[in-house]
């Protein structure tokens, strides 16, 4: 009996963990065949290739390029689902409804001029495993999922020229 309970608990934990990924995957797959949407999937292999292009000197090899190369090497994949000329608010709400049950933490929420942008992160052991961006406006929608293994300092490279007070502390190692 004890074994059964243990097995059932493990199954629940496992299915819970799977649900985090599945929610976003389900959302992507729901609109995968919809012609109004454009889909981009950048696989780990393509990330490797992009890193290879930087290393081979295809791009500038200054400090910024080096940082970018390091960031690229930490990205496991990128999925983008976007649509134009449709009500993005509805899709934004649908996407948020799918995700609220899961373990995504809000990083940034911007609401302006009839558009909403939300950045969320999924953390594991203090590392950011996924950065999720959802934006919806009256005439467009974008869902972007950046998978990998990052620190907040890595994400700061993406938000270059950022002036968030306290962001400098990340650079000094105040927070990983």
């Amino acid at each position: 009996m004890k074994k059964m309970i243990l097995l059932f608990t493990m199954l629940l934990i496992f299915s819970g963990l799977r649900a985090q990924d599945d929610a976003i995957v389900k959302f992507f797959s729901k609109y995968m065949e919809d012609d109004r949407f454009s889909r981009v999937y950048i696989s780990p292999k393509m990330m490797q290739m992009a890193g290879g292009f930087l290393k081979s000197g295809g791009a500038e090899t200054d400090k910024e390029a080096k940082e970018l190369g390091e960031l690229i090497s930490k990205v496991r994949g990128i999925r983008i689902l976007s649509a134009e000329k449709l009500d993005g608010h509805l899709l934004y709400k649908e996407a948020m409804g799918t995700l609220t049950k899961n373990k995504y933490e809000e990083l940034m929420d911007v609401a302006e001029k009839g558009s909403n942008i939300k950045f969320m992160v999924r953390e594991e052991n203090g590392r950011v495993m996924e950065l999720l961006m959802i934006s919806g406006s009256k005439d467009g929608f974008t869902l972007l999922s950046l998978l990998g293994n990052f620190t907040y300092k890595d994400l700061n490279i993406l938000a270059d020229k950022t002036t968030i007070p306290g962001m400098q502390e990340y650079g000094k190692g105040g927070k990983k």
Partner: protein, 142 residues
Amino acid sequence: MRNRIEELLKRYWEGETSLGEERELRDLLAKSDGYDAEKSFFLGISDFSAMMEISLENPSKKSKGLVSFWGRIAAGIVVFLIAGISIYTQHRNRAEKEAYEQVLQAFVLIQENMQKGTGNLEVLQDLQYLNTPNELFDIETK
């Protein structure tokens, strides 16, 4: 026949015979009696000629043909390999560039949207200057 042999021999030693006359002389010697020294001489020459044909022409022709055959195959393989590597490298470079551009596009999309939020917070950055007089004059605020 003897007169003809004598005449041809005389012309031969003087180096005036044609190839046809030399052939005629060999035939006449073969048919006639005597002339043992001349017979062995001309027989020796014909044997030697036959040997020369075998030893000089055939092996060189054979080996040359063999080398050029394998050489052509090797050259073909080398050209094929170089062309293959070159096409593969070109294809890989193009694919890497495309992948890099796609990744950059994704990053730009994130950056643009992030800056929509952080841009609004620039005003907050100015708030840090409110504390500047305290820092300048080392005033304890507690």
